[in-house]
Amino acid sequence: MDWVRKAKKGDIGSFQRLYEAFARRVLNFIFRMVNSAEEAEDLTQETFVTVYQKLGTLKENDRFEPWLFRIARNYIYQRYRARPPNMVSVEELDEDGQPVTQIPDVRKNPDESYQERELEDVVERTINALPEKYREVFVLSAIQRLSYQQIAEIVGRSLPSVKTDIHRARLAVRRQVKDYLKV
């Protein structure tokens, strides 16, 4: 976290290193939440502008990562309030928590590259179909590989609550993809 310390003092080179180390991860976190690469890029820029301006307020340098994701999350929710993103809402899940969205049956197509693309679609639709509350903790845990403690800090909830939501999200995802696990 030497870069954080130097960037705090206004060293633009260190801030660039922080950007290079974290921007892609922040971008993908936002992308998973807003479902638009263009908006995700825009919000990533906003996030890092804020990070640069507010870096001096960061008390503990080793908590930079959850702090950064918390800023990104704030921008996501600001955007949510302004305009809900294009996604499957909680209301569109059936009684078992299954999304109404039809997932293509990739097992019928033998072409491997096509299968790969379709699997990506399946995963994407599955993540997008998760209720917002579960999706953010799932993305932060399963894709961004952040610890439960860091996720709790980012979303501002207790550790047991985050643990429960991650567990439920994992079960929901498994339910959605179970037909493709042997592909």
């Binding site: 971008l27 993540i127 567990h167």
Partner: protein
Amino acid sequence: MDCRKCAEDMTAFMDGEISPSHTALMQSHIDACPACAEEYASLRKAADLVQNHHRYVDLTPGSWNLLHARIGPESRPSIFDFFLIRRWSPVMAMALAGLALIFGLWSYHRYQESERALRSYMAEYIRVREARTQAYHLTSTREGRARFEYLDLRDEENPFVVVHGTTEDNPFRK
């Protein structure tokens, strides 16, 4: 450990989020219980599927340059930002209130000093005036005249007191 507890903690176990001792318990249960082993294997496979098949988006080339252009010198944190830091706001508010209080006390103290000086001067003025009145009625005596002259001299030192001529200056008295 029973299967229900094992199922509850399975995700945390998979993510390495439980204590080493609990991990050992979980592992031994999964090794011994085919149902939990199957449950764990399917969770693991689903996690791997997501990890291996989710799409990443990449930053557009030159994104850093765009950001760099936005965070010019004008947006660099300034020393005055310290005063805007939320966690320091109560401290700053208290410091400002303290300064205002100190200034108020200082002003009040100065006002009180002026008041004391004025009261002291007025008391002395009244005392002298009463003495003069008394002496005026005794000007026929030598002692009275002397006192009156003495008081006149005192009055001359006071810029607020208009000193009138003594009876000796009155030509009609001759």
